[in-house]
Symmetry: C2
Subunit: 289 residues, 2 copies
């Protein structure tokens, strides 16, 4: 069984980001990601640490803006609007879920599409939906593809399933995989005989947020399994959605921790570098006109 460790994938992504950021620096373009966090939430801490590490490894700047949980929507939107207009900012990440009473949907409107590096807004979602490959994707969903690519698994012409239909992981992953010519069954809480659907799949991506949801009986021998779940056990330990015994059946499996989570931050940084490249390009184009 191949252990689809995230670290080498993240390293390759960070190396590539560093090279591209250096090229931008030659043109006096600084790459900067701004992370907006509304209210402190322990579940963000590991991700924030990961983002800092990926940014450092890639040679880009990160700024964390922390707002109180009681920030009014209007103030949040204004901040996002100001960051969108600020030429020093390349990408904006608003940590989700937001505190109660705040609308993600409204906030997403305030983020300029060209800086929407975690694909919260309409432009990014519409592009994902239409299968246009030039847009941003939610970093977690894109990280799954980065892992499969890195380990040489070509989804084209393969039959797989995605478990979970969130706008942050399941749906974008389904869209990305379909655009790569995979045939995907999108499963969710109302899916009957989910074990049969999994057994009929050459690969499985699970993002349901239930520890041990995928059991060995659900996995066809040799199938590739990507575990997007991060669940905190009673003892504080992290576990994924996939039971550890699946390792005895699967052809390949991402560990948790150290799998998708380890690649997500690097993917986010890579998308931020891409945002900076495009903004610089369109700026040059505008100047030429």
């Amino acid at each position: 069984m191949i252990s689809l460790k995230g670290a080498p994938v993240a390293k390759a992504l960070n190396d590539a980001s560093r090279a591209r950021a250096s090229r931008l620096a030659l043109k006096s373009v600084e790459v900067k990601l701004v992370v907006v966090r509304v209210g402190k939430d322990d579940s963000d801490t590991a991700y924030l640490r990961g983002i800092s590490r990926a940014a450092e490894a890639s040679g880009i700047a990160v700024e964390l803006i922390e707002l109180t949980r009681r920030v009014p929507q209007r103030e949040l939107n204004e901040l996002l609007g100001d960051l969108s207009a600020d030429p020093a900012v390349s990408g904006i990440l608003l940590l989700r879920p937001l505190a109660e009473g705040l609308s993600e949907h409204e906030a997403a409107f305030a983020i300029a599409p060209e800086k929407d590096v975690d694909a919260m807004g309409e432009r990014a979602l519409a592009q994902l939906f239409s299968g246009r490959s030039d847009g941003f994707a939610p970093a977690t969903a894109r990280a799954v593809l980065e892992i499969l690519d890195h380990y040489g698994y070509d989804v084209r012409g393969r039959v797989g399933c995605v478990l979970g239909r969130s706008t942050v992981v399941g749906r974008p992953l389904q869209a990305l995989l379909t655009s790569r010519d995979a045939t995907i069954t999108l499963c969710h809480s109302k899916t009957p005989r989910i074990d049969e659907i999994c057994r009929g799949s050459e690969f499985i991506a699970c993002a349901v947020g239930v520890a041990g949801f995928v059991t060995p009986e659900m996995v066809s021998p040799g199938a590739w399994v990507v575990d997007v779940g991060i669940n905190v056990g009673e003892d504080g330990r992290l576990t994924g959605d996939v039971a550890p015994e699946v390792a005895e059946v699967a052809g390949a499996l991402t560990p948790v921790p150290g799998g998708v989570g380890a690649v997500t931050a690097a993917t986010l940084v890579a998308q931020t570098v891409r945002a900076a490249e495009r903004i610089a390009q369109s700026g040059r184009r505008a100047k030429d006109e």
Copy 2:
């Protein structure tokens, strides 16, 4: 076998539209759909006739604007922008595909989201993708749901497949059905063993544009089959994507012609009435503030 005829579905939709349009008329709101056609294409003729009929049956106005195939993109965009700003217009349909050299994507930007009754633009596609049920859907995709609803087929908790991944039918249909709690496998030209996937499905919606693509061997006895294909044979006759012999196996089947096609225009008109209702509502709200 139940023949899922479109006429009664269209009639019910038109009756409901007429009642809602009358209520709007009491508030001096006229409902008007503008259809923009770039270049004459015989394949549009039947659809245009259907739209006229549905509009008449619903008591709403339709205006057809015909542009030459060589209209510059800028001019097309300007027209769509003017229609978007015109308070007398409730909904805008731009017939697709556009003539060569014209970008649908660019044109879609010029259509105001609240008048985008065939779901070409970012707002509608993002809403579809996110599973928000309050947006518009491409009329053909929505028509499939109208038929299933009318004949009492509840997709919730059922396993089905959609054949074809276009942005106009396959992808939106997958999204709509998933939001209705169906479990969908989205199949396309690179799908292996498509016959097996179909046989494992309780219902099938086919939109691939190949006459006779779905054969009886692919259909599980009793399964519901919706044929979205419209193919013109050498003799000029219309046939769907589903072979006629499927009627001997399926539990229910839409005829072609007289199935989905007959409902699409009524669905478009219904979405136009909804657009008019919302525009009137938000106008009142703006006045009140």
